[in-house]
Amino acid sequence: VAVVVFSGPEGYPDGALTAVGRQVYVPAQILVVGGGSPPEGKSRVAGQVGLNGREEVMDRLESGIAYVWFIHGDTRPRPDALGALIEEMVRNDASVAGSKVLAEGTEDRLLSVGEATDVFGEPYSGLEPGELDLEQYDVVREVSFVSAVSLLVRRDLLQGLRGLDPVLPLEAAGLDLSQRARLAGGRVIVVPSSEVFHAESCSHDRSTWRNQAGRQRAMLTAYRPLTLAWVVPTGFLVGLADGVGQLILGRFRPLGVTVAGWAWNIARLPSTAAARRRLAGIRQVGDEELFRFQVGGSVSLRRTAAQLGERFSRALEEGEAESAEEGPRSVWQRPSAVVVAATVIALIIGTRQIWLSGAPASGFSLLPGPGTGGLLAAYGGGWHASGLGSPVAAPPIVALGALVNLAVGDRPALALLMLTLGAVVAGLWGTARLARRIGAGSAGSHAAAWVYIAGAAATTLFSSGRWPLLLAAGPLPWALDAVMAPTPSDWRRRLGRYARGGLAAGLTAAAFPPALMVVPIVGTLWAVLGRRFNGAVGGLLVSVLGLGLIAPFVLGGDLEPLLVNGPIPTIEPEWLWPGSIAIGAVVGALLSNRSRLSGVALGSVVAAGGWLVAQVPGVFPGLGMAALLAASLGGGLLTAMLAEVAGRARWGRIVGGAAAALLLVPAVLTVAGGRSGMPPDQWSSRLGFVSTLSDNLSARVLVIGPAADLPGSSRRLGSIAYRLIDGDTATLDQGYLPTPRAGDKALAAAIEAHLLRGVDLRPGETLADFGVGWVAVMPGSNLNQTALDRQVDLVPRPVDPELAVYENVAFVSRAVQVDQPTAGLPVGPPVVWDWDGRVYRGRAVSGRIRLADNPDQRWGPEWAQEGWANSISGEGGISRYETDGRLRIAGFGSGMLALLLLTSSWWGRLRGAPRQQPASTDDHVGAAIEVAQQ
């Protein structure tokens, strides 16, 4: 036997040579590759020959050598290791044999007992991290490959295979040699009775990009063309997917390693082709023989998925003290992971219709408008083109929609889907964190999340089309989490936490400004009930930061439409919510231990108090709905406490569980619905007739129907609700109608006179002045049909079985020349301009153009008011709204603040920042109790 010792950067393999020297089976020759000279005072081992490179090994083997034993320079074989290898190799008629590898410095920690790969060459040991050698693998068996840490090969075979591939790192070379040996008809076995110790942090680290590239080359060399045809592209994609997954985990290297590995192999294609040709000459079996010892799927993808799950679980339970029991276990062996998995499954089921069909466009859940119009209207001082328009800043949710739409490449349906699902996921995740923050365990925190997002109160809100509240429900618990968490002692983390809270509060306010009030109120309640007095200050601080993020709306927006747009939906049956909360509060108060009593108190008071506010007659509907959202959160927190009531008696847990179930049942029903409680789609394509039946895309649609069914907000005339929609889609930027101005009042008068009273037979002619090209009447509207039956210029069009659609056959234009010169010239049709969502354009004319929008002097050029509308000069062929500089500056300021908060949040979470230490024993009481219960 010849021993080939590969020395690493650490220099002369003194330890390995010493161990080799103690072998019972004495080797005839010892070759040291790249080992240099022995240290001073040490003499060469008998038979030792120094080699400069691997290429020399075959040439330097003595003639009587039958086996070659490759070992790393940091390998420490037991004295009987070589003997066992020889014995088993002969007994099993094997060609390649490897040793059991144990971690150096330990007696029994396994590193490898032969290995498998996936089809892409990624190694898979099958061992748990830190797994001990209990002789559980002590059987000689065939494996995919054995590590070059200790690898014995028959000399004749090695000769035929032309030795180890010199361009491959040692680990990859071991794999390559094993595979080629198998294809040449040899057997590759692991011999557990041959034990070697090896450093874990080996200089021949298999995770280097060269090793990855080498493994790829081993596959490229071994597989037949048919296999390569699918393995190469699939492997490339798997590598990319794995790299992206690792990116999410914050690791940039794996993607780089993948790319570098493939680049390296492309550069070495000629030598790979030569290696394939050499192998073809001695190949005895097909690729199937390799597949036999491979594992299914992709090892790297499975590993990355597990790491993502681990990271998700940890993020969900941030702040949880890692227990001795849970720490070392795999993520899926933790109880919390099972709960997370259940939540993920419930999320998929509960939002399946959104995944499959897109988020429903109904109520205020509307597709973002195209381009940057929404952003400009909300944050740039632009024209808020809703109804007949307004110069006041649009609600910030318009900008939120526009930003996401821009981010996804102007795909409104995708943007709506992402906003909706993002809010649901954020709400679930944030609530679970928040619940743990106040003492809940895993199961309770997830129950809390579902009661908050899908319970009776939430579903009542969301099913009535109050999508902005769903959007606000996403970041709200995150804002509260920042408020209610113990104050970190380190100022950097403290800054990061409040920045994160400010961002979340800003998003909450952007979605539905009145919902921001929940943050300081709940913060203050927590300060009182939980005796965490920083909660009150923190609540105010993050609320102020949140307000800063919607500065244009605060300075120049119109809060009234958000506040007065109602009614407040009612939880049915009426007794359900107060009854559930009352029972829950009694059970929680009587059965909870002291550490959870604060949580029970907070949940009960917020749930009952929020509901009470929503019941107060005369309360602004906007405030009432925000209070109902807070009630939903309170109900969730109470459920979390009830789900794990630590009663001494079994009946206590049963009663607590039953009380929690009372709050959870509506959530289960909502999940079963599959639409996250949202109403069915109504408006994504319902007004498509505007573009299919007419060329006039600038025309407005007057939609009349029950207020709850109309897209966005509406105006009222008696019991009749109506609103205008621009063009063929009800978009998010039109969702909220601003406070009525001159044009809106004129429109109301026109509708009353011509559509309700029917003062003449030509309502279309009057509505044409407002650019109304279509009238759509929904079922359930209280409109008396008399006037619509006895008129001559609104022609019914059978385009929708449920919608009575009338086309206005009078001349309709939002922008039309009004002083057409006639002296000596034949009178033609008046010049009309088109509206593209931001500006009016058309043929330049010498006269004036009337714009059917609410009058505002920022329209131009040469603005003048004409009745309730605008008149501008038609000479330029274009009319724009000059943005409000004050609001634009405010919008810029909000943007800068958002960037600052993002940066601070990120900076405060950097690894360099000291982790927060628990401020007191009950900071993580939920986790502690959970551990204790296990």
């Binding site: 109602g566 009614p567 407040i568 009612t570 009426e574 007794w575 107060p578 009854g579 909360i581 009352a582 509060a585 009694v586 929680g588 108060a589 009587l590 002291r594 009593l597 029970v600 108190a601 009960s604 008071v605 009952a608 108090g609 509901w611 009470l612 929503a614 019941q615 107060v616 007659p617 005369g618 309360v619 509907p621 009432g624 009222r716 005339l717 008696g718 019991s719 009749i720 009353e752 309700l756 009273r757 029917g758 003062v759 003449d760 037979l761 209280n782 008396n784 008399t786 006037a787 619509l788 039956d789 006895r790 008129q791 001559v792 210029d793 609104l794 022609v795 019914p796 009338y806 056959v809």
Partner: protein, 423 residues
């Protein structure tokens, strides 16, 4: 102890909040103010208007506002004259080509009639569409007579109606006519001469199922023609009986789905004689009463019923034929939208005074400054040929409730209709 207090404080606080919320009445739904109710109709349609040669065809208007006049079905871009408020006449030929051309007149407080004059004469009222069931009586297809039902949809929405015919044979609706679709801006003529041949008396009820229509009828006799409009049912009708020497019949049509009792009171010089005729009309049936058996010429009839009916007076001689709906009320002020000019036809007005005392009345062509005073004898119909060279609409004012009728006399031909009450 401290912990126990906290627990009970929490229970009491939560129960208090929940009970408080339940005790509150809840936020009221924003119902808004009262809904604006539809205005009265600001238009009328003359369903029988016809343009052609050999006769003149005019519309007479009286309106409180400017009016817009449109011929229905006269092409995509019809001539649409706008007339000032007050009284006016317009020739149908100025609006449309030959043939049946119903006219839509838009304006507030508008009353109108249509006159066809020449060898034959017809006078029809112009009415608004009614969402309620309407009826028309006085048609016939026997003895060389012909009748046509005219269904006009002047509006943008398609209409669909259910027709129920009745004749001396009882319910008599051909299957083809049970439901008729009338597209928007369209007139449908249902010629009954073949479908319902040989009926001495015919009447229709028309129930709107979708949209709105205005209906009329045209009946041709041996030497004259009559036109009339469908009107909503009422439980009381007034018929004035002028002394023109015609044979007169009262055609009563029930619009009810149940049998209807009726009673006829006769206005005679000696006063009102109640119950000169009583009977029961089958559901959606009709009955025809010979007037000479019930009243005297120069008198009148009051026909009352338990359920809504329509009543038409059919006046005929060898050379003349007229069908006129009765007046559905008495009033002190009436307007007669005169649609005839003296050169073509004389204008006649007759006034039924059902009271037991004499009533003073004044007939004044609008805008002329002239007026004619009449003393209306008690319980009698007083007729007058009005000198009205301008063809202006005529205002009739009385110091008691009366019923006013309008007729045109063209040679031996005649047309009749009820005037329009102003209150």
């Amino acid at each position: 102890v401290n912990g126990l207090v906290r627990r009970w404080a929490l229970i009491l606080a939560t129960l208090g909040l929940a009970a408080g919320g339940l005790a509150l009445p809840g936020a009221p739904l924003n119902q808004g103010g009262p809904d604006p109710q539809p205005d009265p109709d600001h238009y009328v349609v003359c369903p029988d208007a016809e343009a052609g040669g050999g006769f003149t065809s005019r519309l007479g208007l009286a309106s409180e506002s400017d009016v817009l006049v449109t011929a229905i079905g006269a092409g995509a871009d019809p001539l649409r004259p706008r007339l000032e408020s007050g009284t006016a006449q317009i020739a149908v030929e100025d609006l449309a080509e030959r043939g049946l051309t119903p006219i839509l007149i838009e304006g507030t407080g508008t009353a109108a009639t249509y006159t066809r004059a020449g060898e034959t004469a017809g006078l029809g009222g112009c009415v608004a569409a009614s969402p309620d069931i309407v009826g028309v009586a006085g048609l016939a297809t026997s003895s060389g007579q012909g009748s046509t039902l005219v269904l006009v949809n002047p509006f943008a929405a398609e209409a669909s109606i259910r027709l129920e015919a009745a004749s001396e044979f009882g319910p008599d609706t051909p299957a083809d006519l049970e439901e008729v679709r009338v597209p928007s801006f369209t007139t449908v003529e249902l010629v009954l001469d073949q479908l319902l041949a040989g009926r001495e008396s015919l009447s229709f009820s028309l129930t709107t199922q979708r949209g709105l229509i205005v209906a009329g009828m045209r009946r041709t006799g041996s030497s004259d023609l009559a036109v009339s409009e469908a009107v909503p049912g009422r439980t009381q009708w007034f018929l004035g009986l002028p002394d023109f020497g015609f044979t007169e019949e009262a055609h009563i049509r029930s619009l009810a789905a149940v049998d209807t009792a009726y009673r006829v009171d006769s206005v005679l010089p000696e006063g009102l004689v109640e119950g000169v005729s009583e009977g029961v009309i089958p559901a959606q049936g009709q009955t025809v009463l010979a007037v000479e058996e019930l009243a005297e010429t120069g008198g009148g009839l009051i026909i009352a019923s338990a359920e809504p009916i329509v009543v038409s007076l059919v006046s005929a001689s060898e050379e003349a034929l007229a069908v006129s709906p009765g007046a559905d009320r008495e009033a002190a002020r009436w307007v007669v939208p005169v649609s005839s000019v003296p050169a073509e036809a004389r204008t006649a007005i007759w006034i039924l005074n059902t009271a037991g005392n004499a009533v003073n009345a004044r007939i004044a062509p609008m805008g002329s400054g002239r007026s004619q005073a009449l003393e209306l004898a008690p319980a009698a119909t007083t007729g007058a040929i009005v000198e009205n060279p301008e063809g202006a609409s005529i205002l009739v004012e009385a110091d008691g409730p009366v019923a006013v009728f309008y007729g045109v006399l063209s040679g031996s031909a005649i047309g009749m209709t009820a005037a329009v009450p102003l209150e």
